[in-house]
Subunit: 313 residues, 2 copies
């Protein structure tokens, strides 16, 4: 059942001992949403905590380094920025079918929760911001940091075409409330580990152009991780690089898994990335999608490049 | 003499046949400011045009592709985003000492114009936006595009610490007025030529770390331009890459000139880049500065790396 922000706030006002679920391989929007909502609920005198299936990358420490969670048995479960239950990772074992409210901005949300607050905005943090205003909870500096983080990371630091004037206005409000935009954007966008820099170098060295230079492919192998001390977690920043090349319509980043199968991340502007990914059982958004292959990285490269021909403009 | 926005608007209302000077090696802020102001003046029924010493890079075509300039003998000269007359390039020959009003956001402005409208904001376009409101001229879609371009490029797409809540709010207003933020940010930040990508690859291959990995140096040689078909104009995007590496306090990009001398671009966060550049007769801002060397690129690298030791935190 779909609910709006007002209805969601009315429900939350009556609840206590609230558990907030975030998606596996957490990003700035799921964590920013989770910790901002958690802080707001605590300001209202409620017990709340945020959980995640994975270890939270160190760069997000500032989102929660001051929080002390009290132990409690959860009575109400909220999922934030989680489009499908599969994205909960191992948390599914305990919480499948148990989400009371899901707050999300993915239009592909599978409606798995008892109630869903879904808005078509660039970041779930935009919804959380409005929800906190509706709840009447104070937005302190740390809450503003959390909300700004989600807004900035899900819009590529306000760069993507999906960013609206509302996103910019909320960012302005959050800065006025104390969000440290300089620190956050430096941590999110301007800091690369040495091992990542070495990996990027190796990967770019192998960049290949196909289909009259309209398709760009980079491959990341297990051997590259070994040589650079990097790992798969660090490869997220690679994918957007492929479509930045003038004339490239489809950018593909292939990642070799430990079991020698592989995953392809597809980035486009005009070509529908989700439809291309769908040909191989994958999915995603129109400009960013992914799919898996049960074959070697070189075989997969051949398959996907062949398919690209049908999608080029 | 310093004037404020209101005073500037009052003066401009009375003038006609206005020439707008922009700085050499033009960027989004000088061009966006120039063409936005020009459009506003034309909306008020005045004759105006924008000139630049250099050929304007093709990616800025959309700022003025619809404008038809009428010929006129200038009666009033405005410089926008031009901190010193030297930055006018060859336009100095004709216009040195002839600027009636300079509109700028560089606190290092040398006060060369008869009147100066100087504000400490992240982009000159922020001043021009307020000036146009004060002039009462319509801001149409193309004017909004111009203003958004300057705002976005001078803030690193709203990423730099200097970006204020006012910058975000003006961006929101401009999007509501029709600015195509998706198109502009893609053109400014997400489009690399093939030759640039090849150059970046070569340059990153030669990345060296010094002083316990606190100093990163990349070198761009004439040989690299030959090998990649790239040129010096395309090296701007390289400099920020050096300071992105975790632990790096000083990032240096060395560029070899045709005459075998070279130039160093320095990028930092906490270390004062301008002071380091000053040791070699250069200058700039606290996080971005540059200096020249009358020696080979390898000799210059040695000199500057030695000096870095004194500046590390």
């Amino acid at each position: 059942m779909n609910i709006n922000i007002k209805e969601c706030a009315q429900i939350l006002k009556k609840k206590n001992n609230i558990l907030i679920l975030t998606h596996a391989h957490p990003d700035g929007d799921t964590l920013g949403s989770g910790f901002a909502l958690c802080r707001a609920l605590m300001k209202l005198g409620k017990k709340a905590r945020v959980i995640n299936d994975d270890e939270i990358p160190k760069k997000y420490n500032y989102l929660y380094d001051d929080l002390k969670f009290k132990d409690f048995k959860e009575e109400f479960v909220i999922a934030v920025d989680v489009a499908t239950e599969n994205l909960l990772g191992a948390l599914q074992d305990e919480y499948r079918g148990k989400t009371d409210i899901c707050i999300d901005h993915h239009l592909t949300n599978t409606d798995y929760a008892a109630k869903t607050l879904l808005c078509d905005v660039p970041a779930t943090c935009e919804i959380i911001y409005k929800l906190i205003l509706e709840l009447g909870a104070e937005i302190d500096k740390k809450t503003a940091d959390c909300l700004y983080t989600g807004l900035s990371t899900d819009t590529g630091c306000f760069r993507y075409a999906s960013t609206t004037s509302q996103s910019y206005r909320i960012a302005a409000d959050l800065i006025d409330l104390g969000a440290d935009n300089g620190f956050i954007n430096r941590a999110m966008f301007e800091t690369k580990t040495k091992s990542y820099v070495m990996l990027e170098r190796l990967a770019l060295n192998g960049l290949k152009l196909y289909c009259g230079d309209k398709v760009a492919v980079i491959k990341v192998t297990q051997d590259m991780y070994r040589k650079t001390g990097s790992n798969e977690q660090e490869t997220e920043a690679l994918a957007p690089l492929t479509r930045q090349i003038e004339g490239v319509q489809i950018g593909i980043t292939m990642r070799e898994k430990k079991d020698k199968t592989c995953k392809a991340s597809i980035r486009t502007f005009e070509v529908n990335a989700a439809q291309l990914a769908k040909c191989f059982g994958g999915g995603g958004h129109s400009q960013a999608a992914a799919c898996r292959f049960d074959c070697t990285i070189n075989e997969a490269e051949k398959l996907i490049v062949e398919k690209c021909g049908e999608f080029l403009l």
